[in-house]
Amino acid sequence: MGKKPKVKKAANSRGRKAAVKAMAGDQRPMERVNTGIGGLDELLEGGIPTGSLNLLAGRLGTGRMIFGLQYLYYGAKEKDEPGVFVSLEKEPESVVDIMKSIGWDPDELIEKKMLSIIKPDMHRFENLKESIIDSIDRIGAKRVVIKPFSLLTAYFDNVYDVRKALSDLRREMKRMDCTMIAVTDIKEGDASFSSTGFEEFVANGVIVLDFQAKKDSNEFTRTLLVRKMERTNHSLKLVPFEITKKGIEVYAGAEVF
């Protein structure tokens, strides 16, 4: 093999400098979506990058459903950003009931076409994707939540197809300027954040909700970690959160002991 051309070396050097600048935040401001989850945006330089696909991973009972609904409710109510909840398991009526149990009024938002809750036909991935895109188009949605995202992987026989399909979905979100939260399940004892273990590589961001139990204490704590968020100088601190009467509240200034 011959020597590397000088030009290429210079380009690499520029690339590294740009990467360093980007890490230091020395770039034009990134457009971000405020999550509406109290305290979370502090950890994310103000919010999730617009047009990104983000995994919300967690074990049973960690508050993922409320997180997703709060994200949509806040967007519709406070930011004038319509949202779609794609429910692959629960009936839309059940989702409405959950929102009402927290004190949110989804009926008004649904009537004003600021919120849509759908349970699409799941025969083929392409049909499902089209249903989601149609729903986004119909109300001009800027926010989408899919739960459980893990079910999408059941369409495919191999990891290559899963990754390709998810990459397509990610591209669609970006094209439509829509910011997605995809809720995945973590089974007890699992090390990955999704069912195949590959969704997290395709996603632009990964937020993990968990329970912590300390060996020297009876205290159980709900915790949140921003494990990955592209183009964001995010905190890597494990922080406690609570499910309050107003929804999820993240305490960036507190610590897990």
Binding site: D216, N218, E219, P240, G253, A254, E255, F257
Partner: protein
């Protein structure tokens, strides 16, 4: 040391805003020290203060402090002494954490309260009780967290510990990062 000497030493303590005291005491001076320091903190601060009690329940503590002339209306209490599973309702003057070792919950309560900017000082009673419930490294980490929070928010703070074997190890770790160390 007798009570006169303790009082004389306490009268020299200056709380100027953003100062953290670490106080270790024999059990017989416990009441006197907390009353004197709380009076000084309330006198010096234009804001209310937060009293974290891991030792005596709120109702008894509040009555006792009031009887000793402490203006308890200037205090908000976080009580970690009640039985888990049967915590009383939070009120305008007190909130509850499950047990003295529930340090994450305590950290959340402190974060929530101090975010309002309403409070000028924190009194922690006590490091020695905390050390009975959690491992030493966790107690030390909490101590560090508390001192850093006080500095960040420019609040005064008193970290109190009874003279005990478990408390002594936590005190030794915290001593270098506090502004003043008092031993009675």
């Amino acid at each position: 040391m007798d009570e006169k000497k303790v009082l004389a030493r306490l009268s020299k303590v200056k709380l100027t805003g953003g100062k953290v005291l670490l106080v270790v005491s024999q059990p017989q001076f416990y009441d006197m020290i907390s009353v004197q320091l709380l009076r000084a903190l309330i006198r010096n601060s234009k804001k209310k203060g937060i009293y974290v009690t891991l030792t005596r329940p709120y109702t008894k503590l509040e009555a006792s402090l009031k009887k000793s002339g402490v203006d308890t209306a200037k205090l908000f209490f976080i009580d970690g002494t009640e039985k888990p599973g049967s915590l009383p309702e939070n009120s305008a003057q007190v909130s509850y954490v499950e047990e003295p070792g529930a340090l994450t919950h305590l950290s959340v309560s402190l974060t929530r309260l101090t975010a309002s900017g309403e409070y000028g000082f924190i009194y922690l009673d006590s490091l020695s009780t905390m050390a009975m419930y959690r491992e030493l490294d966790v107690v030390q980490r909490f101590g560090n967290y508390l001192v850093n929070k006080l500095r960040e928010l420019e609040m005064d703070g008193v970290v109190f510990s009874l003279d005990s074997e478990k408390g002594a190890k936590a005190v030794a770790a915290l001593k270098p990062i506090c502004d003043e160390y008092l031993e009675f």
